[in-house]
Symmetry: C2
């Protein structure tokens, strides 16, 4: 527990505004975006790296457990306190001051508490943006801790690929600050320590500042819905698109009929874009984009996409059953509504899986055949990022009362086992690890890797930090 | 020392062909590509991961020091034995069997001993390639251990960005094999351990196999020489090129007059491409490329480049003094000859530095003013990768006798101090760490990072492995 003495001492370090101890003030920090509900002993809100260091040092010396929290938009209970009421939340929500653009280096130094939307809003004038694109609006520190991916991974990669530097506070008795902020693109002078703090849920240290790689903002965008002839045609179609459009291709997203149907049924603003309203079995949203303004000597981008699709259409055994170019904002609106639609389709059990690219459809096909035999009444509402092998594999029980805790547990165990053991996939593609999937980390991680992680934890942050245990 | 008993035991593990103990046979493994000359106790040549594991386990148990060696093309004495004659070289040169292409996943599983040229030669039919492009022809294991960058970093990134998986043998008594070979593009299930084995000179383990990301092979290429109006115009020029050409831009390489002059003087096949043979102060080689075959509805790529350059030319205060599009192979031939030319210009002291992008030219300008005052008779022959902030900063003394060991030491200390302390740069951009720059690692690495590295070494490979010490 955190005594009054500690509250007073921490308020001296952080100022009165920096410590929240009353239950109404703490409520917003205690529950996650979708799933969890815990109880905090205290919420700490430092304003800069020095303050993080000072309060971490205090907490480690006094044996107070810390859970770092950023935008708290994650889906694996990685940033909320458990139910014990003994953990203090260290929130980054006041760390929003530094915003230092290096336009020549195409890089940005920011405090870890700035929201993604603020970063890209403030960058717009410069023609640059941070290219990791998500449905949620997290703060950047949490994006690093999760290594988020998103819909344009195919073109730009994940957070890891777009991080040039981090500043980290370790949970040791000194609150050691590790400065890895060179912002260099090429630098091979030993261990690239920043990699350890990306995607590890804040367990090994708290990222307080970072240097981000920026890309040129797209100036021309064209999108199409592609209907593959069969599930087996999706990979040939992706290969043909990559072959003919190369670096233009910025998204290749798959949407199942069930997911589209749920969005159309439950998200009122959407228009059904398909002929006679007949939703195909599977639809690809393909996006191409260019980062420069249209030039007079170039075909408009819609025409480029139409030409390429016509070329694919004319091939012998073409993988396309149908294709049409349409307004990007409308086409993306449907894609972005899938998650909301699926939530309303029944009792949802969601999985964030990834595979080698060809195995996304193979896995879904296998599941279509086997799931009804194992779990009658449960349907598949999948959609995902075919271009990078990620799939949001959503299972929905129309009859919610069917899904009690034991049923969900059995279902999760079975799906993860098929994904990991049979298909060599990942049980967390882009959501990271938190309390919610800790058991699967424990199950599917090689013992040697756990031993290494336990050793690394002792080396970096021996204090109690974070909501997961990698050791 | 390695006794006869050990040689017999290791020959039992690896077969007679797997152990080289005679001095003529070992000679090829004892000297580096440019600098060093050591002495090996023995050379071990395993054929697969299991054999690496078995001989590493034996050596760790028997206290035999191992230096892993891949293509041995590095420039920092990272892969050769020291002069003691007590270290055994573990060569990857027979690890060339596995070559497993996953065309849908755009990935390739290979043994670590395959050469870069073999990889790309065998891939050519598929229309894919491994996009880390170098002057040398290393084996892939060494490329991972060095995290090589090269001339197309701007478009494709370094080895780190293009590595999807590794298999590693640790130097412990079991020769533990760590399998990180999922080949997934999105996978956030804890520590991404493969990052620790990239760019760390084989100190923490020997990469024996890997899964590489592949990209579409360029099908259209256009190049131009750009002459910036002043050194200060280089960054605006890069910004304009990125703004107007986006992902087309695949190289933006800087070449100083001295470096070009040395190549023209010493590499006979080259033609002087400049009007009246007058080499400008500084020249940019810009390359744009597309990964698809030319379509009838598109401008040819040379015309695109000419249009964009004409647009830049017409801007108020345009950063260009001159520009001309020319044949890619000729333009690159000059670029690739710079290194050879500089070697013949006098006594060479070479530096592989990197900076935030704007600081490459700022550093070179500063040096042009200050170097003559500190080291008379030494001239700057720089060239480099402006697009990613890397510069091969070459110093040449016309009078070779001026450069004795003490002079070189003083010169190195001074240059690195300016690069790192004054400009916040890196003392090893893309060559990694070996015996040659160990002292600068020791000098410029924060103590905390050394402590972490020492701890990591104990955790992973407590046996004597590699030619450097990060702790």
């Amino acid at each position: 527990m955190v005594s009054e003495r500690h509250k007073v001492a921490l308020a001296e370090i952080l100022g009165a505004q920096g410590v929240v101890g009353d239950s109404s003030g703490m409520a917003a920090y205690e529950s996650g975006a979708r799933y969890d509900q815990g109880r905090a002993a205290l919420v700490l809100r430092p304003r800069d790296t020095a303050a993080v260091s000072a309060c971490v040092a205090y907490c480690v010396r006094e044996g107070i457990s810390l859970v770092p929290q950023s935008g708290n938009t994650g889906l694996v209970s990685g940033s909320t306190p458990d139910a014990s009421g003994t953990q203090a939340v260290l929130s980054l929500d006041r760390m929003t001051r530094i915003f230092d653009l290096d336009i020549d280096n195409r890089s940005l130094h920011v405090d870890a508490g700035i929201r993604l939307s603020d970063i890209n809003g403030r960058l717009e004038q410069s023609g640059l943006f941070f290219p990791v694109d998500l449905g949620a609006d997290p703060r950047i520190g949490g994006m690093l801790a999760t290594n988020t991916g998103g819909s344009r991974f195919l073109r730009y990669g994940d957070v890891r690929k777009n991080t040039l530097g981090v500043k980290v506070v370790l949970a040791d008795e000194a609150g050691t600050v590790v400065d890895l902020m060179s912002g260099l693109r090429k630098n091979n002078t030993g261990v690239d320590w920043k990699q350890l703090f990306v995607g590890t849920s804040g367990t090994f240290g708290i990222v307080t500042e970072c240097v981000l790689n920026l890309e040129r903002l797209p100036r021309q965008v064209s999108t199409a819905y592609l209907v593959p002839r069969t599930a087996a045609a999706v990979m040939p179609l992706l290969r043909m698109m990559e072959e003919r459009l190369g670096s233009y291709l910025s998204a290749f997203e798959g949407m199942s009929r069930n997911a589209i149907g749920a969005a159309l049924a439950h998200v009122p603003a959407l228009r059904n874009p398909f002929q006679n309203g007949d939703v195909p079995d599977y639809v690809i949203l393909a996006e191409i984009s260019r980062s420069w303004a249209a030039r007079a000597d170039e075909q408009p981008l819609d025409a480029v996409l139409e030409t390429v699709l016509a070329g694919i259409w004319e091939e012998d055994g073409a993988p396309l059953a149908d294709a049409f170019v349409g307004p990007a904002h409308e086409m993306w609106a449907l894609r972005h509504a899938l998650s909301e639609g699926v939530k309303h389709a029944g009792r949802l059990v969601a999985f964030d899986l990834s595979f080698r690219r060809a195995d996304v459809l193979a896995f879904c096909d296998w599941m279509k055949a086997e799931l009804p035999r194992e779990f009658a009444g449960v349907d598949i509402f999948d959609f995902g990022h075919i271009g990078d092998g990620g799939v949001h594999f959503n299972l929905v029980a129309g009859n919610a009362s069917q899904v009690d805790a034991a049923f969900e547990q059995r279902l999760r165990d079975w799906v993860y086992s098929v994904a990991v053991d049979r298909f060599g996939g990942s049980f967390s593609a882009e959501h990271g690890i938190g309390r919610k999937n800790q058991a699967y980390y424990d199950r599917y991680t090689q013992q040697k890797n756990k031993d290494l992680a336990a050793g690394l934890k002792r080396l970096t942050s021996p204090g109690s930090l974070g909501s997961v245990c990698f050791g």
